[in-house]
Symmetry: C2
Subunit: 172 residues, 2 copies
DNA sequence: CATAAAATGCACATATCGTGCATGATTCAG
DNA sequence: CTGAATCATGCACGATATGTGCATTTTATG
């Protein structure tokens, strides 16, 4: 089996082109059967099964999830929210992290370089609901100094599929 | 069957508490078997199967995907990129949308209110790779006037699970 | 080159899925 | 309220999917 050496990329396991194909296929359809996958990548279903097991065990495949359609669930408002904290040190940061982690409305929260300390993506049924969330939940978190939100006007692209092409550099 | 009326939320189908439980379970584990789900929500496996079919057909469940671990794939750099376009009208917007949609590095792209026109989340193996992407791909798109990026220092929360609690307001 | 290790597909027992059907529950009309 | 119609449900079962032992093939190593 010809495998691609990704040592410079800090990869923990070796991936060949079949593995990469499986990853790509499963990112697109997490419920593809082993038979379907086998047909697409030209291995047997049992080999597909074993390889997927390995990809899961090694942690490359983290989990399988159902993606729901926000609009169909009445979740019509997305906002990006920049948050700046008071300058009090790590205690506050830890608390903010934990609390934000429990809020269903917050889908993403990243600590970022730049003006703000955090950037959040928030999803609510309506603008009043967004306002309510910001005023009564987010702004009330300890240490929050400033909150600035930008409403999403429309979505151009939103995928869970990670880029894999940097892993294709070896021989094929 | 007691269903919750969500007419004010513009829902296309009625959802009862079993449906909501299924949605929650499948958001967390997209490969849960019908038997597992049946046990958790106290319906038969065949009823689970039929309900999931309905949720899929009605579009609430959009798809199932495998979520990969970015770090395990050597994708160590995430950035939020604000993009402003020249003021030329819709032609440029359409082109930008299409082109961005084809770039694997771009996981999310939203048109937003505020200073910038778009906010993108970009994933690359390294800072040089990010720089390369910004300079040689993104900035070269027609109509791009300004690009500003904020590097993600750390991730606090990143989930694909949409909030469902606004749907729980009816009788249980 | 020979040997050891790893990968592979076949076969098959077990698990899972999807659907017909009978039954029970709910809704609707008089 | 009653009876009929409609809808939801679980059981049973045929079809499909999964995972693993095993023999064979392929690859790596000294």
């Amino acid at each position: 089996m010809i495998q691609t050496n990704h040592a410079h990329l800090n990869l923990m396991i070796e991936l060949d082109r079949f593995d990469l194909q499986l990853l790509a296929e499963l990112q697109a359809n997490g419920r593809a059967s082993n038979a379907q996958l086998a047909e697409r990548i030209h291995l047997s279903a049992s080999q597909v099964s074993r390889r997927i097991q390995r990809l899961e065990q090694e942690g490359l495949i983290e989990r399988y999830v159902a993606l729901l359609r926000a609009e169909a669930l009445g979740l019509g408002v997305t906002a990006f929210v920049s948050v700046s904290l008071e300058r009090h040190g790590e205690q506050q940061t830890g608390t903010f992290d934990e609390q934000v982690g429990t809020m269903d409305e917050v889908l993403e929260c990243f600590a970022v370089s730049g003006d703000a300390d955090y950037l959040l993506r928030v999803l609510t049924p309506s603008l009043p609901a967004l306002s309510d969330f910001l005023l009564h939940q987010l702004m009330r978190l300890p240490g929050v100094r400033n909150v600035k939100s930008n409403i999403v006007l429309s979505g151009v692209k939103h995928t869970t599929q990670l880029p894999l092409k940097h892993l294709h550099h070896g021989r094929r």
